[in-house]
Amino acid sequence: MEMLAILIPVSLFLGGLGLLGFLWTLRNRQYDDPDGDGHRVLRKDWDDRPKP
């Protein structure tokens, strides 16, 4: 049961990390064009060399 003292803060911290990540994606406007982002990954334009 002593483990709880460590495990609960750890799980809360990880949950908080997830929330921060979500807020970051929100602020980064990653939900503006879900269709386009899905397709953008599949483009072949920069397969041979990185985008400058």
Partner: protein, 729 residues
Amino acid sequence: MSMAESAFSACPACVALPATELLAESRRLAADAGIVLSVPTASGAAAISAIENALSALPGVSSARVNLTLRRVSVRARPDILPDHLIAVLAAIGYPALELDVVMLSSTASEKRGHDLLMRLGVAGFSMMNIMLLSVAVWSGAEDATRDLFHWISAMIALPTLAFAGQPFFVSAIASLKARRLGMDVPISLALILASSISLFETFMGGEHAYFDAAVSLCFFLLAGRYLDYRSRAAARSAAEELAALEVPRAILLRDGQELLVPLAEISAGDLVLVRPGARMPVDGIVTLGNSELDRSLLTGETLPAPALPGSIVSAGEVNLTGPLTVQVTSAGKESSLHRMADLVAVAESAKNRYMSLADRMARRYSPAVHVLALSSFIGWMIHSGGDVRLAVNVAAAVLIITCPCALALAVPSVITAASGKLFRLGLLIKNGTALERLAEVDTVVFDKTGTLTLGALEPANLEAFSEADLALVAALAEGSSHPLSRALASALRLRDLAPAHVEDIRESAGYGVEGLWNGMRVRLGRASWVGATAAAQTATFLQVGAAPARALTFTDRLRPGAAGLVKTLKAAGLKVALLSGDAEAPVAALARDLGIADWRSEMLPAEKAAHIGALTGQGARVLMVGDGLNDTVALASAHVSISPASALDAARVASDIVLLGQDIAPIADARRIAVQARRRIKQNFALSLAYNLVAVPVALIGLATPLIAALAMSTSSLTVTLNALRLK
């Protein structure tokens, strides 16, 4: 209603701001946002690459980014890059594009609301996950100090979360209480507050049951429904804005002999405006200079061009065909004939707004039932237990949580979102939230002719009656003119591999025709009066060789692709199909015969069309009106539901509920099928969530509901409802 008003005044801000301020404002915004084009046919990774590469390669363009969800491309470019140029580039690579008014599109307020809801949804989701983890431990048998500790931690997560994420419900509940109504949000807020306070009390007392997990997951599912609802509403609103923005209102003002391109808001009566051939009349006025012909088909449905000479009266919306015209403005903007139609539309629209959606009808019946049920369970348990308030409040809270319209709140938005996504992919924009439900009820379809069932583009009908030599002459003369009839002739003859005859000295007389010299003889191609012939009933141009009598080249309007199939499908589905046109009898009869429409009327005035639809409605029919012209606008607004093609006049697009982006008209049949299916799914979803309540409410009423049962009932019903919505094909 506000939709119609805003669009009729070209841009809503124009009403509030003086013209000069507006111009400064729009310039500032335009500089910020660059150029935004609507690209309705863009789809897939190939489109992104093709469009972005083509635009970025242009000198002066610094960046181009496609938004595939909205089918738009935003371009940053030097100020001297004109949208027309970009549109031409996109058209060349196979993506027809339309310019959008940046000022209309900068709707930051609504976007902020979406972000706000999404953030609350995320916060609720993450705390739900954490509380659920703790709750699993409690459900699987944690006792005493451990259970109390878990309850305390849950409380510490749940209470701030509810205070933050529940705000949309609390705000709207207070608003509806102030208006003395019981909306859906009152029982929701009550359940959230009651569940968290009773749980806090139980935690203090070291009790067995705490409903923190139920309260937070309730909040999460409801927010999900609210967010989906917002998304489909925002899509509808942005569709309407996009359409209003399609027609960028500008006119060429003649001042001190100079041509100035100015926004329509700056034009006032008495100004002189230049209208180039091919352009649309921006104002009502009187022609002071120039000879031309006018295409009135969008306003009246007539396919025959009307002559325009100095002294002729022109109305906004007509298209100038052959020569440049200088027009003295009699009325512009809101006073023009185009905008006067707004009053008629407003009357018809207010009747339509009385339609109550399935969700509203459901909420009206459901919401009082929830309160009555919770209150009676409280009173019942008070009597039964001999005054045990703690027990009675516990049971009442459980009843409120379980009956809370979680699945009900998801039932409609999830289906509407799935359906409008499907329709968007078919090229249909849904402008009104209840349009799909109304479309599903339709039993009669009324079409307009010109521009709706036909493209409004003419093609020659009787070339066979002419000899090869004559056609070679026609080809040579037609190539020399940009009149739509000439262009139709030229492109039809080019397909025949005909070598044009050698005609010299080709000259075009604007408004009359083209003439030239062939083997020393004068040859003319033009209007009847010019070549000394009598005008034909159909759209026609005349060929005169030397002094011989002129012969008519007649034209027919080309059928819109998919029109024949659409009429057949609709009739097969058991719908009545009718054709109402403002055009003359002969072409309407011919088209009706071709398409197999038995019920047709010609030479209908706008008010007659609306009256005809009113009469059909009076007989109990639910009418779908498909039309594009100004003469259809009132009919579109008064029909049960209406569709217009994107090529329609903006007044018609504003009045209609659904807009067809592509040229093919066949998706209308799919739209109806999807609407019928969506309505069935909505009803199934209501039945599903009610079935859950029928099972879970008795359990709660007899006091056996535990937090575990509440959590199970809530999430399974929400999930089934969402999955059922996604089954839409």
